[in-house]
């Protein structure tokens, strides 16, 4: 089987779609093709011929595994509105239309000597698994800092166990704002504590905007490279609706300009984002 890099509207079959914790659902699908996926890339999903709600929903690819008959893709999502509620009602055997892979994804070869710090808040976590896997495969030192407001009623996030298998449990720090488990405080505080003893680090982050902004500030103050994966409302996901524009300024720009989260992103260098205009 040849590996495709082209983006297509794949018809995929649901293998399982289960509520895993109080807030997280885990969706596994079978894809008949084998496609090349970069960590942090996403797909736009809808149920067959759906147009109510109107837009597809953007889901970051959580895990991907080659199989003899194609690929198995896994997603973690929260039911937040009509689209994800509809998705959560789909059963094994049902088909989904899945446009992707989309977006640029995280760079995995930047500053290869540095310790890689993966920082996530809430539903930002799934964007970092393939990155953790790729960096660990390259022999990099990788740590995950994950923040939640409080610990889930069922205990720790099962997804953190997935990360623990790749990185080792000692490489993972859970921070809860109410102190119900792990580090008591917001996740970026835990990162700062760690950075007091780290010499060289590169930051990769996905989560709520205030958290990402804080990551950008920490990186700027310490002169560390940082990559953030942004979220934005998207009607298309492939660059034509121009709905997901964010103001950014790269080294080559004389003035800030709008870039599309779906095509030029979702991953941006933290210092290029004009945070005041998000």
């Amino acid at each position: 089987m040849t590996t495709r890099t082209v983006t297509r509207d794949h018809r995929v079959r649901i293998l399982s779609n289960r509520r895993e914790t109080h807030t997280y659902w885990r969706l596994r699908v079978h894809l008949a093709d084998s496609i090349a996926i970069r960590p942090g890339q996403f797909v736009m999903v809808r149920t067959r011929d759906q147009w109510e709600p109107l837009w597809r929903r953007a889901l970051v690819i959580y895990r991907a595994e080659e199989r003899a008959d194609g690929m198995e893709l896994e997603f973690l999502y929260k039911v937040l509105g009509r689209g994800t509620a509809l998705l959560s009602r789909q059963r094994p055997g049902d088909e989904l239309e899945m446009l992707g892979p989309l977006g640029n994804g995280f760079p995995t070869d930047a500053d290869s000597k540095a310790e890689a710090l993966l920082i996530s808040g809430g539903i930002g976590l799934p964007a970092l698994y393939l990155l953790a896997e790729a960096l660990a495969r390259n022999g990099r030192t990788v740590r995950l800092f994950h923040g939640e407001p409080t610990v889930e009623p069922e205990g720790s996030l099962p997804a953190l166990d997935d990360f623990a298998r790749v990185l080792g449990p000692e490489a993972i720090t859970l921070a809860t704002e109410d102190g119900s488990k792990g580090f008591h405080g917001v996740v970026t505080e835990a990162v700062e504590v760690h950075l007091e003893r780290a010499r060289r680090a590169i930051l990769y982050a996905c989560g709520p905007t205030p958290m990402l902004r804080r990551v950008a500030e920490i990186a700027a103050r310490r002169g560390l490279p940082a990559y953030v994966s942004l979220e934005a409302r998207m009607a298309c996901g492939f660059g034509v609706c121009l709905g997901c524009a964010v103001k950014t300024q790269s080294a080559s720009d004389r003035t800030p300009r709008y870039r599309r989260v779906c095509v030029e992103g979702p991953v941006f260098r933290a210092q290029e984002v004009v945070w005041d205009e998000l």
């Binding site: 109510e52 109107l54 298309c236 034509v240 300009r257």
Partner: protein, 309 residues
């Protein structure tokens, strides 16, 4: 036996009546990875202005029931960059490229057309006199029959190609605008652009779009668009291209029966990039099933005992 899907508009032969609507199809090339653009009747480009435009601050879009509001603000790369960077690839496809044109001033429309006149591979111009999202988006032309006519006449005099005028549903008297631009020399009309709307976040009590109001599009507007296209088609002699929430082949057929000579597919491109191809195939299939030999026999074939008011 296959049905003849071709139609004539403004002296141009379209292989089928399915075009893609401005602002929903990028510069066309974005879709070339998924299907042969040559299968389309035509492509209306993103609106082109004299200079590049940055567009409005985010959030620019919001999903509503059966539709969406947008306030993109006519972000585009400018007419010169379009000709240099997009058109060379686009014109290789065997389809009609319709350049959508707008200006913040009367003269800017003329400047854009002058530049496009020298470019190869463009079939027609579509004048956007109806963007609701920027003050200088042509709305002042779209709402006033006299201004719309004056602009159409000036563009027509200058243009080396047919002029299609895209009408605003937000105009006070749409039919007067339609008749005025026909009298001023428009070769065809397209209707409708988005309908001005509002969505409010009840927790912050602020509009969900940064600019406040935005243009409503998608399946939710189809019955309104269909009614307007019906009325316009009866009010003028020039062809009308129907636009407004078309998502299925049945939607496209309704517009043709109501009097549209062709249709444009807009918002549906966002959630199904292949929708236009599905509609073209659906038209062929419908005609085959119904024993229709030419799609032209459907145009304006609405059956009624007396004209609808």
């Amino acid at each position: 036996m296959s049905c003849d899907l071709s139609v004539e508009i403004a002296g141009l032969h379209f292989k089928n009546p399915v075009l893609t609507a401005s602002g929903t199809f990028g510069y066309g090339v974005e879709f070339a990875q998924w299907f042969d653009l040559g299968r389309l009747g035509g492509i209306c480009t993103k609106g082109l202005s004299l200079e590049p435009l940055e567009g409005n601050p985010p959030p620019r879009i919001v999903e509503t029931h059966g539709g969406m509001l947008n306030s993109i603000g006519l972000q585009n790369i400018g007419v010169r960059a379009f000709i240099a960077e997009k058109l060379p690839l686009l014109r290789q496809f065997h389809t009609h490229i319709i350049a959508n044109v707008f200006g913040s001033r009367f003269e800017e429309y003329l400047d854009v057309i002058r530049i496009l006149n020298d470019a190869e591979g463009i079939a027609a111009y579509e004048l956007n006199i109806s963007c609701p999202n920027v003050k200088a988006g042509g709305m002042e032309f779209g709402n006033d029959p006299d201004e719309a006519a004056r602009l159409t006449e000036a563009c027509k005099r200058l243009a080396h190609r047919p002029i299609i005028v895209k009408l605003s549903p937000n105009a006070g008297d749409l039919l007067r605008v339609a008749r005025a631009v026909e009298a001023a020399g428009a070769d065809a009309l397209s209707a409708i652009n988005t309908i001005l709307g509002l969505s409010v976040d009840i927790y912050t009590r602020r509009p969900r779009l940064a600019t406040g109001m935005g243009g409503l599009s998608g399946p939710a507007i189809k019955p309104i668009a269909l009614r307007m296209v019906y009325q316009i088609a009866r009010a003028v002699r020039i062809p009308v291209i129907g636009i407004g929430g078309i998502t299925t082949v049945e939607d496209a057929l309704e517009f043709l029966i109501a009097g549209a000579t062709a249709v444009q597919i807009g918002t549906a491109n966002y959630f199904d990039p292949l929708v236009s191809i599905k509609i073209i195939e659906g038209l062929q299939q419908f005609c085959h099933q119904q024993g229709i030999t030419t799609i032209r026999s459907l145009i304006g074939s609405l059956q009624m005992d007396e004209p609808l008011a």
